[in-house]
Amino acid sequence: MSLLEIRNVSKLFGGLAASSNVSFTIQKGEILGLIGPNGAGKTTLFNIVDGVYPPTKGQVLFKGQVISGMKPHQICKLGLARTFQVVKPLQRMSVLDNVIASAFLRAKNKAEAVEIAMETIRFTGLEEDKDVISRGLPLGKRKKLEIARALATQPELLLLDESFAGLNHSELNESIEIIKSIKARGITIMIIEHHMKVIMSISDRIVVINYGQKIAEGIPQEIRNNPLVIEAYLGE
């Protein structure tokens, strides 16, 4: 059984089909890259999976259970966490408090929440900044904070929405290492990314979306040589 199954999902905003009849699955333990030109409907798909929007048609199944129609907090409780492309730190809270707030989902008491939070903060390399009010963080660290916060809910599936955008070279390498060690912990990842070099090197499989439709799916090597994908990115 696949961990996540997206089954014939369509989402209409008025007359605009942000997703139309998209189907694919994610297997436990893999990193699935989701790519496509700007406005292709990648984030919409994330929002459908994580419960922000109900799909107009189709279903999303997580661990065999239909989750479309549930609220984001219910889906998160089942073990599916996400980060936001436009980062949403809890601004007037410190980095540590941000992560504690999300660690409370699984923790029985505050001591345990703090423990989970500290462990996650060390894991994502935010230890030096733990007492900084998150409003004052530079973008690279806010992106890391998004990941730390999602991880602290102890998910089985992590959705990363452009966690690499706007990072400099060393931050980029650091983040790639973090993603790899998240995978090593047995957490499945679906990632949206524009940085082709990154996505090709870390993904096990890639799904390509254009105008809301899935146009290709396969291992990175296949995607790189797929004429439809090349056309979508470079034009005819």
């Binding site: 994580d50 922000v52 609220k71 984001p72 907090h73 219910q74 998160c76 409780k77 966490a81 996400r82 936001f84 949403k88 730190p89 809890l90 601004q91 007037r92 809270m93 408090d97 504690i100 707030a101 999300s102 409370f104 989902l105 923790a107 505050k110 929440a113 916060r149 999602a150 809910t153």
Partner: protein, 313 residues
């Protein structure tokens, strides 16, 4: 020092009546303490959970009328109103929450404002229950000496302080602040935002209601215009917390001291009439511009200002 500050304040307040205050001064201090309790309750919902209510008179009034109606209709001691108002106002807040908590930001604020006014109009017109505009007069006062009332409201305010302090250190507190900072992010972290907002509203409402029930007992007379007042209850509550410090534990207390005594002072200026209210409008504007976090929240800023060399040193 900072850790023990609430204890020092409490100890000071506990011995204050022993120094022999005049009945008038004692009345002022009782009002200060009552308003601190209401301010702390409002602060829990608005300051920490970010749901700014413009209608806290609704909870204050329902609490006050719980006491009043128990006396007026059932001939019970109005003191029963204090424990019973907890149940009544919690239930009332829950029902109100089902309606107003669907809304966000300014829409929520406007809905609460409307709710407060609706409660006033209802209390005016439900003559069979509330006695309408004639109000309810408690004919037998329990004590003439205000000292007893003083210690009762001090106990209520202390309990309110402890509830808020305890909640804000626990999981619920983290969730409240997370909701204030970003509802969508909070939801994605597994926080049932609707449920936790309902909890904040119910606790805040119940704590306000207790103060309302005390008010009935202390003043001995209530009518819809007094306890459901938009300006004198709902707006004053907001002013107190804004002046003292939003989302601070002691802010409501500091704000209540300033607002109660200032209101008394301004009211005593001859020939001003209702124009004294403009004064509070100006004060609010100045606070928002210069001390957006209130006196407690921006205390460091104030300290810098009074240091030798001024703010630029």
């Amino acid at each position: 020092m900072k850790k023990y500050l609430p204890l020092i304040v409490l100890a000071f307040l506990a011995v204050l009546p022993l120094v022999g205050l005049s009945s008038y001064m004692l009345h002022m201090v009782i009002l200060v303490i009552m308003w601190s309790a209401v301010g702390m309750a409002w602060n829990l919902l608005a300051g920490y959970c970010g749901q700014v209510s413009f209608g806290h008179a609704a909870y204050f009034g329902v609490g006050a009328y719980t006491s009043g109606i128990l006396y007026y209709q059932l001939k019970l001691s109005p003191w029963w109103g204090i424990p019973i108002s907890i149940v009544v106002v919690t239930g009332f807040s829950f029902l109100l929450g089902l309606i107003v908590l669907r809304l966000r930001g300014p829409f929520f604020a406007l809905a609460t404002l409307a709710m407060g006014e609706m409660m006033r109009v209802s209390a005016e017109n439900l003559n069979w229950l509330t006695g309408g505009n004639i109000g309810i007069l408690i004919q037998e006062r329990t004590w003439i000496d205000k000292t007893y009332y003083y210690y009762i409201i001090l106990a209520i305010a202390t309990a309110t302080f402890l509830v808020v302090k305890y909640l804000m250190q626990s999981k619920i507190g983290y969730y409240f602040v997370a909701i204030r900072e970003d509802q969508d992010a909070a939801e994605s972290l597994g926080i049932d935002t609707t449920w936790y907002k309902t909890i904040a509203l119910c606790i805040s409402g119940a704590l306000t209601g207790i103060a309302g029930a005390f008010y009935t007992n202390y003043m001995g007379y209530i009518d819809p215009h007094v306890v459901f007042a938009l300006h004198d209850i709902s707006i004053v509550t907001i002013m107190i917390v804004m002046v003292g410090g939003v989302a601070t534990l002691l802010g409501p207390f500091v704000g209540a001291i300033i607002m109660v005594f200032l209101a008394e002072l301004v009211r005593s200026i001859p020939g001003l009439g209702v124009a004294h209210q403009t004064f509070f409008g100006i004060l609010l504007i100045l606070i928002i511009i210069f001390l957006p976090n209130g006196i407690v929240g921006d205390f460091q800023k104030i300290k810098r200002l009074f240091k030798v060399g001024g703010a630029y040193k």
